[in-house]
């Protein structure tokens, strides 16, 4: 793999990490204020459709973006109404919002455009164009440029405005959450709403503010999908990104800078998955990594309770079995045989990593203490 390939993979990681990052920060605001939001996915999807549809009709991507944000904020408002005002179940409300978006986008897209639940392709003006930095080399001449020039032209330059905006939201979110009075109150509402209430600050107001910010960021994420990453809306185009953003949020332990790292990492997985269909590793390397993992698990449960032994020990034995299968299949051709890593493994990595982090084996992820609990003023 040469340097240019690496730069290209990093470049596409950044592109693919952008919607994750926006959605992840959206979730960060909401969850830090104590409102769980598994409806990120639905909000992204709704915003993607509305922004593409409106951008197509008006021919202006900015109107589309605003409309997308509007749609996402409306869903946020429903979530707020259900979980803040009516003190309903936040998880169920999120599930409902996901389905609402999944159904409505297709029904309306079919009624408006009649193209099987998609919007027509957006012309220039209806989508965000890449911004080329001064002096950047066009992609045709990229191979001849020096490494620094490649980094500059491929990785830094040539993204749409929203990518740079998403990167900018990280320091902004950090500043707002940790350096302003609003941020302190917002975090406090997620940890101990009663204390905030005692201080004479409206818990309901703070939570609504957080939920609306969440809607705005999700709206931008959705608009990015349909008007920058691609140039139209297609059915279910969010493709689980809201859930991956949720995973990234946990992976980042509800912190803005960590969120950037987690989203870039997950974006990198996507980019690797897109770019390389065949990742080959020698059989001995795969099976020894698996064996080490299994040994680690078995050693960990050695002195634990029966349940730990059955579950984690069973998992360990399963991994040993897989490793044995690999050795067996490669035995006749020698252990140096190159074995293909399944594509689905790379695709599943974000989820697997999130489960590992949630399990607390690698650092503990502690959610905001009052997350998911509706606040009721004492009577």
């Amino acid at each position: 793999m040469d340097f240019l390939t690496l730069v290209q993979v990093l470049d596409s990681s950044l592109r693919l990490a952008t919607p994750l990052l926006l959605a992840c920060l959206a979730g960060l605001f909401s969850e830090r204020a104590g409102i769980f939001d598994i409806g990120l996915e639905g909000k992204i999807l709704a915003a993607a459709f509305v922004s593409a549809a409106i951008a197509y009709i008006t021919g202006s991507v900015w109107v589309g973006l605003l409309a997308g944000i509007g749609a996402s904020v409306m869903l946020s408002a429903i979530h707020g109404l259900a979980s803040i005002t009516l003190r309903g179940d936040q998880i169920i409300s999120g599930v409902a919002i996901n389905f609402l978006a999944a159904g409505l986008t297709v029904v309306i897209a079919q009624a408006w455009f009649g193209q099987g639940g998609r919007t027509p392709p957006l012309q220039s003006g209806g989508r965000f164009e890449p911004i080329n930095f001064p002096g950047a080399v066009p992609s045709k001449e990229m191979a001849d440029a020096g490494p620094l020039m490649q980094l500059y032209s491929e990785l830094l330059s040539g993204h749409s405005l929203l990518v740079y905006f998403a990167l900018l939201t990280v320091p902004i979110s950090w500043f707002v959450l940790y350096k302003t009075r609003f941020g302190l109150r917002l975090r406090a509402v997620g940890e101990n709403p009663a204390a905030v209430d005692t201080a004479g600050i409206s818990v309901i107001g703070m939570r609504y503010a957080a939920v609306i910010i969440c809607g705005i960021l999700c709206g931008i994420a959705g608009a990015y999908l349909a008007t920058a990453l691609q140039a139209n809306f297609t059915k279910d185009m969010s493709a689980g990104r809201g859930f991956i953003a949720l995973a990234a949020l946990i992976f980042a332990k509800w912190r803005p800078w960590y969120a950037l790292g987690a989203c870039l990492l997950f974006g990198f997985f996507f980019a690797v998955d897109n770019r390389f269909q065949n990742i080959l590793l020698p059989a001995w390397a795969i099976s020894s990594v698996l064996l080490l993992l299994a040994l680690g698990l078995l050693a960990y449960v050695w002195r634990k309770s029966l349940l730990d032994k059955v579950v984690l020990g069973g998992l360990g034995l399963g991994i040993v079995f897989v490793s044995a299968l690999i050795v067996n299949s490669a035995w006749s051709a020698g252990l140096g045989t190159q074995i293909k890593i399944p594509v689905v493994f790379i695709q599943s990595l974000p989820y697997i990593l999130t489960v590992v982090v949630l399990a607390g084996f690698v650092g503990k992820a502690i959610p905001p203490r009052s997350g998911g609990v509706p606040y009721m003023k004492e009577k």
Binding site: I92, S93, F99, G103, L104, V344, S348, Y351
Partner: protein
């Protein structure tokens, strides 16, 4: 506090929610330029007025009973199993392994074996998140969502790899041997002399297993000591612990029962209908289970009725997509509204009903 009598709470609240959902859907149908009354009559004609329509409806209903019961059982322990989709996929894997690699002499034995396979695989897939919740405190909603995606990856891995027959292009297993094929309603109708009933509809004997599962879950939750412990833990964790009920054990058992029920869905779809394992065979039934459980108030009888309703909606939705410009996704909108009104906006639905009852009490 209890303004409404229990029956009103159990019957009126879901009905009122359904009416609200139906009203909003009718507005949506009007907005896209179709007629709601025509749509309804198409749905009824295509579903209730033809035996084949019933055959399709009951096929969907079977899936929704299993997943609805699964979500209900977990609800009783205050657990939210959103991973029905993944558990059902794993169940499908279990069914195919049992059907493909064990030579069954007769379908009646095969369905027992396949049920065990489906239940065990679903159980394992729910057991891991349950363990993480019980022992490590990881939020079960998030882990089961993650396990849905991982299950899709695992299924994909097997269907493009080890289980795909050589030379075949589509990601699916080989067809199951004929001795494992389940009798459909069409076969059963012919047996008792009704020709031309349930023509080529996919409903099959697993519908009766779903009914049995309803009875079993009813017995488990309301008549068995284990059910008492599950409900006690669901009502109050500290109180249950004080009464000597181990939360780790109950969380594990409840989630594994829930996973087994979701897995069982695969005998209907995989052994009964497609007769081989295909990608995306769950078609979102794991998620519909949430709507069914909420609408059915987590009671097996309610789940059965709600599953029938959603079966009707799914078959009716297919009819609409066939004859009108309304896409099948309309049903997802209705499903979302039902979840919203019965699960998240219950206060909004209950408030006017309670006011009505207060007025009635005062005369």
């Amino acid at each position: 506090m209890d303004v409404m009598p229990k029956w009103a709470d159990v019957v009126l609240v879901p009905l009122f929610s359904l009416l609200l959902a139906a009203f909003l859907s009718a507005l949506l149908i009007l907005a896209i330029g179709e007629s709601p009354s025509e749509a309804l009559s198409l749905m009824v004609q295509g579903t209730l007025l033809r035996s084949a329509g019933w055959g399709y409806m009951l096929y969907y209903t079977t899936n929704f009973i299993f997943t609805g019961l699964a979500v209900s059982v977990a609800f009783h322990a205050s657990l939210f199993n959103i991973g029905g989709e993944g558990q059902a996929m794993m169940g499908g894997l279990g069914v195919s392994l049992v059907c493909l690699f064990i030579p069954w002499p007769h379908w009646s034995l095969a369905i027992v074996g396949a049920s065990v396979g489906a239940a065990v695989f679903g159980m394992i897939w729910a057991g891991l998140p349950a363990y993480l919740q019980a022992k490590r405190g990881s939020h079960i909603v998030i882990t089961t969502i993650m396990f849905n995606f991982i299950a899709a990856g695992v299924l994909n891995f097997f269907l493009v790899g080890a289980l795909k027959p050589k030379g075949s292009m589509d990601p699916a297993t080989a067809n199951f041997p004929a001795s494992t094929h389940l009798p459909t309603f069409e076969d059963m109708a012919q047996l008792v002399g009704f020709e031309k009933m349930f023509r080529s509809a996919p409903a099959n004997v697993s519908f009766f297993i779903a009914l049995l599962a309803c009875v079993a879950v009813w017995y488990l939750i309301w008549r068995s000591p284990l059910g008492y412990e599950i409900r006690a833990l669901g009502k109050s964790g500290p109180a249950a612990r004080y009464a000597g009920i181990g939360s780790v054990k109950i969380i594990m058992i409840t989630m594994m029962i829930s996973g087994a029920l979701c897995g069982l869905m695969a005998i209907n779809t995989t052994q009964g209908e497609s007769e081989r394992l295909i990608l995306n065979f769950t078609e979102g039934a794991g998620f519909i289970g949430i709507a069914v459980a909420l609408m059915g108030r987590s009671h097996p009888l309610g789940v059965l009725l709600a599953a029938l309703l959603f079966g009707f909606l799914y078959q009716g939705g297919a009819e609409l997509a066939l004859w009108t410009k309304i896409p099948r996704e309309l049903i997802i909108v209705i499903q979302a509204l039902v979840i919203l009104f019965t699960g998240a906006l219950t206060m909004m639905v209950r408030a006017p009903l309670e006011r009505l009852f207060l007025m009635a009490w005062r005369g």
